[in-house]
C-alpha cells in the first residue's frame, strides 16, 4: 500500500514537542534529581539511604502489600459483578451506572467516608444496635483498604466486562455441548479467555494504589504510608526533592515491572495463534 501523506510535517510539531517536553524530559529530570542532594551536588547518598535504612525498604514492602490487598479485594468483588452485569438485559445502561461514580470527584467520595466511618457516624450507630459499641474505624488500615477498594471497583469491572463482551458465546455453548459442568466451563473456558481483561484491570488498579496519598492522609490517618505518601511528603513538606525523586524512581521501576508481568501474556497468546 502506498503511504498517503495528508498533512505536512509542521502539523506534527506540537505533538512532537509534547513528547519531548512532557514525556521524556520529566522522566529524565526525576532520574537526574534523584542523584542530587539538598545542595544540588551530585551524590548517590539518596539511593544509599534508601537501601541501607530499613524504613524506606519496609515502607516500600508495606506499600506493595497494601496495593496487593486492594487489588485482590477489588478483583474478588469486580469479577462476579462484571460477569452478572454482562448477563443483564440492559447491560449497556448498567455498565454506564457502574462507571458513573468514577465521575464524582475522588476527594468527595473520600470525604463521604469521613462522615460514614466517624465515631458517631452511620456505621458506628449500626454497630451500637448490636452492642458492639463505637469502634475506631476511621484512621485505621481497614478504612484505608475499604475506601481504596471502593474507589477502584469500577476501574476493574470495566476491562473485565470488555473481555467478557469479546468472548464469543459459541465457546460457552460448545463447552456445554461437550458435557462440561458450569464450573468446568468457567475455569477452563471463560476465565482463561477473560484473563487479558483481568490483567488490564490489575494494571489499572495496582499502580494507582501504590500512590494514593490523599487517602492515606484523609482516611488512613497517616498510619498507612504508601510510596505516593512518601513522595508527596518529600516534595511538598520536607522539601527534600532528591530523596523524593529516588522514591519516585523506585515507583517507576515498580510500575514497569507490573507492566511487564501483566503484559507478557499478550505476546504468548500471539505466538500460540
Amino acid at each position: 500500500m502506498t503511504q498517503r501523506h495528508f498533512t505536512s510535517w509542521t502539523y506534527y510539531v506540537p505533538y512532537g514537542l509534547w513528547v519531548g517536553l512532557f514525556v521524556i524530559a520529566p522522566v529524565g529530570l526525576i532520574i537526574y534529581q534523584s542523584f542530587l542532594d539538598l545542595h544540588h551536588h551530585f551524590t548517590l547518598a539518596n539511593y544509599q539511604a534508601y537501601f541501607e535504612s530499613g524504613t524506606y525498604l519496609m515502607m516500600t514492602v508495606n506499600s506493595i502489600w497494601w496495593a496487593f490487598l486492594i487489588t485482590l479485594f477489588t478483583l474478588l468483588i469486580s469479577y462476579p459483578a462484571a460477569y452478572y452485569i454482562h448477563q443483564l438485559k440492559h447491560r449497556q445502561l448498567w455498565l454506564l451506572l457502574t462507571i458513573l461514580p468514577t465521575w464524582i470527584n475522588l476527594l468527595l467520595k473520600a470525604y463521604a467516608f469521613i462522615g460514614i466511618f466517624s465515631q458517631a457516624g452511620v456505621v458506628n450507630q449500626f454497630l451500637s444496635l448490636f452492642g458492639i459499641g463505637p469502634q475506631q474505624i476511621l484512621f485505621t488500615n481497614f478504612s484505608f483498604v475499604f475506601v481504596a477498594t471502593y474507589i477502584q471497583i469500577p476501574f476493574m469491572i470495566l476491562p473485565i466486562y470488555n473481555a467478557l463482551d469479546d468472548l464469543s458465546g459459541s465457546y460457552i455453548n460448545a463447552s456445554h455441548d461437550l458435557g462440561a459442568t458450569n464450573w468446568q466451563t468457567f475455569s477452563k473456558v471463560v476465565w482463561p479467555l477473560t484473563l487479558p481483561g483481568v490483567k488490564a484491570g490489575v494494571q489499572a488498579v495496582f499502580i494507582p494504589s501504590l500512590s494514593l496519598f490523599m487517602l492515606t492522609r484523609l482516611i488512613g490517618g497517616n498510619k498507612v504510608i504508601t510510596l505516593g505518601t512518601a513522595i508527596e511528603e518529600h516534595f511538598l513538606t520536607t522539601m527534600n526533592w532528591g530523596m523524593g525523586s529516588t522514591i519516585g524512581v523506585v515507583l517507576i521501576v515498580a510500575m514497569v515491572l507490573i507492566m511487564i508481568i501483566t503484559g507478557e501474556r499478550r505476546q504468548d497468546r500471539g505466538r500460540v495463534r
Partner: protein, 271 residues
C-alpha cells in the same frame, strides 16, 4: 436451578450497586441536614446551599476549575488529534510503536510521579506555579487520552475515500479538512469529553504544581476535608452530582444518536 442462580446474582449486583452509590447519596442527603454533622439528620434545610452560593471564594474556584478544564481540553484535543494523525501515518512500525509507547507513558504513570516530575520541570524552567503551570499540566496529561480516542476512528477511515479525494484533485489540506476531520469527529468529541473529565477529576497532579495562590476544586475540597466535616462541601457535591448527570445524559444521547446513524447505514447496506 437457573432461576435460583439468577436470583443470587441479582442480590449480589444489587449489593454492589448499593455500595457504589451509598456514599454519594449519603453526601447529598446530608447536604439538606439542618444540623452541622453527618451523624444525625435533624431536619430539612437549604441553608448549606445558600452558604455555598454566598461563598464567593468557592465560586471563583469553581469557575477557575471549569476554565482550566475547558481550555486544557481544547488545547489537548487539538494537539492530540494532530498526534493521532502522525501516529496513523508513520510507515515504520518501530517508530510507530515507539510513538505509541511514549503516548501511553503518561496514562499509566501514577499521578504522584506526573505531579512531582512536572514540578521539577516547571522549577527548572522557572515557570511560575499557578494558573499557567496547572493549565500546562492538565493539557499535557490529557493529550494521550485524546490520541487513544481518535486513533480507532482514523484506522476505520477507508483508504479509498482518500484515493477518491486525491483523484478528484483535492489538496492535502482540503482532504484533511473535508474528508478526514469530518470522519473522525466522533473520536475528537470523545477525546474532548475524556480530557474534560480528566481535568475536572484531577487532584494529585494539580496538588503538586499549584503553588500557593491558585486552587482548583479538588485541591480546595482536600484542604477543607482535612479540617473536618462542613456541610457546605455536601451541598457542593449535590450540585456537582446533578451537573455530572446532565453531562453524562448529554454525552449518552449524542453517542447513541451517532451509533443509531451508523446502524441505519449498515442496515441500508445489508438491504
Amino acid at each position: 436451578m437457573t432461576q435460583r442462580r439468577f436470583k443470587w446474582s441479582s442480590i449480589y449486583l444489587l449489593l454492589v450497586f448499593v455500595i457504589l452509590y451509598a456514599p454519594i447519596l449519603f453526601l447529598i442527603v446530608y447536604s439538606f441536614n439542618s444540623g452541622t454533622t453527618m451523624d444525625h439528620f435533624d431536619g430539612f434545610t437549604l441553608a448549606h446551599y445558600a452558604t455555598l452560593f454566598a461563598d464567593t471564594r468557592l465560586i471563583a474556584i469553581v469557575l477557575q476549575t471549569l476554565l482550566i478544564a475547558l481550555l486544557s481540553a481544547l488545547i489537548a484535543t487539538t494537539i492530540g488529534t494532530l498526534g493521532a494523525l502522525w501516529i496513523q501515518q508513520t510507515s515504520r512500525p518501530f517508530f510507530k510503536n515507539s510513538l505509541l509507547s511514549f503516548n501511553n507513558i503518561l496514562i499509566v504513570s501514577p499521578d504522584v510521579i506526573i505531579g512531582a516530575s512536572f514540578l521539577i520541570f516547571f522549577t527548572t524552567l522557572s515557570i511560575p506555579l499557578g494558573f499557567t503551570s496547572v493549565l500546562i499540566s492538565h493539557t499535557a496529561f490529557s493529550i494521550p487520552i485524546v490520541v487513544l480516542m481518535v486513533l480507532p476512528r482514523l484506522k476505520e477511515l477507508n483508504g479509498s475515500m482518500l484515493d477518491a479525494a486525491a483523484d478528484l484533485g483535492a489538496t492535502q489540506s482540503q482532504t484533511l479538512r473535508d474528508v478526514i476531520i469530518p470522519f473522525i469527529t466522533p473520536g475528537i468529541f470523545a477525546g474532548f469529553f475524556m480530557a474534560l473529565t480528566y481535568s475536572l477529576d484531577d487532584f494529585a497532579v494539580t496538588f503538586f504544581v499549584t503553588g500557593n495562590g491558585f486552587s482548583t476544586l479538588s485541591v480546595e475540597i482536600y484542604s477543607r476535608a482535612r479540617q473536618g466535616i462542613s456541610l457546605e462541601i455536601n451541598a457542593l457535591s449535590g450540585l456537582l452530582f446533578v451537573l455530572t448527570l446532565v453531562l453524562i445524559v448529554g454525552y449518552y444521547i449524542v453517542s447513541q444518536s451517532s451509533q443509531r446513524r451508523l446502524l441505519r447505514k449498515k442496515r441500508g447496506v445489508n438491504r
